[in-house]
Symmetry: C2
Subunit: 201 residues, 2 copies
DNA sequence: GTATCACGGTTCGGTGAATGAACTAACATG
DNA sequence: CATGTTAGTTCATTCACCGAACCGTGATAC
């Protein structure tokens, strides 16, 4: 395939990485997954991505071992997409790219602030905690809205959830006000979702 | 522009970064620039990229402040593209992506090895030198071919140059055997390039 | 028990970006 | 004067993205 995702002839791991992650939307899907987005409709509402493209990207990321497709309910069969350990390792490069953007592309100050959830201090480059000095894994990171974030932009569930502090990888609540911890995969049952999901953008 | 490089409505520095860097070929152009590629024909020979696309990408990167277009010769007017300080800051995210690829996408072992040029030790994640413990800037990094690199792949000048140890940002020699340091921008003069340039791929 | 809704897709026609080949401009070389 | 080099531009074709419509399954409302 000449056009498309491949970079034939490039004997280079960076090019191989881009073959997996470099297509339009792919890295935004991974970023959303890091923020706790797991369900098809949530990715779709948050990204405004055509369903066919989202479907293709999710399948490709599962194929590549970045995401895992996992059944969370049988009643109507429903799957969710969660990061594998390999996918979680993308935290470092993605944070580095985001921080580059915050430095050079955010005129009104950073849009998001990343903190070490357990001790509260801001994250320095490379996901290092300023206080602990440790390299903080994705699970211990908390995103908070920064001064550069416009608060009128989107009204989908994911955007609303990310407008207050949110632990990375913690599932997005099904409706606002629900405790993020309260979501059960074992009990199943068809959860009711708020009307807000349709009011996106 | 619905299709294309923009992610309208994403109020997120990561999405903004991808609007600058996320198009096909763009990050490979930046990677090549980090390896010392500066001239249109060298980018083109190494990447097998359509000239029209390369031209558009280079202009966009100049526009974004990642590359600087610099006249190195007047006789026939000739420009070269070099990384700005802002562009050089992309070293950390690009290395992180490359290292992710080396870990998960390189079946025969790493294709490239990154070393701290001044002390010789291999680079750990985040561009930290194992011996010095310092964070190594792009200028002090040396790429060397790794065990996973196929040596029959390409025969363009850039690929040949990168088949032996090469200091990052150091210009690719015009013909093999020439000292990389020997290239003068001030003296000008139309340098003769080897036949190898045309034997690409 | 029928109608409607939610979710997670697939299908399909239209559009625009990527591709590769050909062409151009400016100058140098033999 | 013919040819070559570098850095592009132009153009027809191809292919991926886009958005809207449709589909299947099961839950919920009436």
């Amino acid at each position: 395939m000449a056009l498309g995702k491949n970079y034939d002839g490039q004997d280079c791991s960076f090019a191989k990485t881009l073959e997996v992650l470099g297509e339009r939307w792919t890295l935004l899907v991974v970023r959303d997954a890091m923020c706790g987005v797991r369900r098809f409709a949530d990715f779709q509402a948050h990204l405004d991505i055509p369903k066919a493209v989202l479907s293709q990207r999710l399948s490709a990321l599962v194929e590549a071992g970045v995401l895992e497709r996992r059944r969370y309910q049988d009643a109507p069969p429903r799957d969710e997409y969660v990061l594998t350990p390999v996918g979680r390792e993308l935290w470092v490069p993605l944070l580095a790219l985001a921080q580059w953007g915050e430095r050079h592309l955010a005129a009104n100050g950073p849009r998001r602030l990343y903190h070490h959830a357990t001790c509260g201090s801001p994250l320095e480059p490379y996901s290092v905690c300023g206080t602990c000095g440790r390299s903080v894994p994705l699970e211990e990171v908390e995103v908070r809205p920064g001064p550069g974030l416009r608060d009128d932009a989107r009204t989908d569930l994911v955007s609303l959830a990310l407008r207050s502090p949110h632990r990375m990888l913690a599932p997005i609540p099904d409706k606002m006000g629900e405790t993020p911890e309260g979501r059960s995969h074992e009990l199943g049952g068809n959860r009711v979702r708020g009307r807000a999901a349709r009011a996106a953008r």
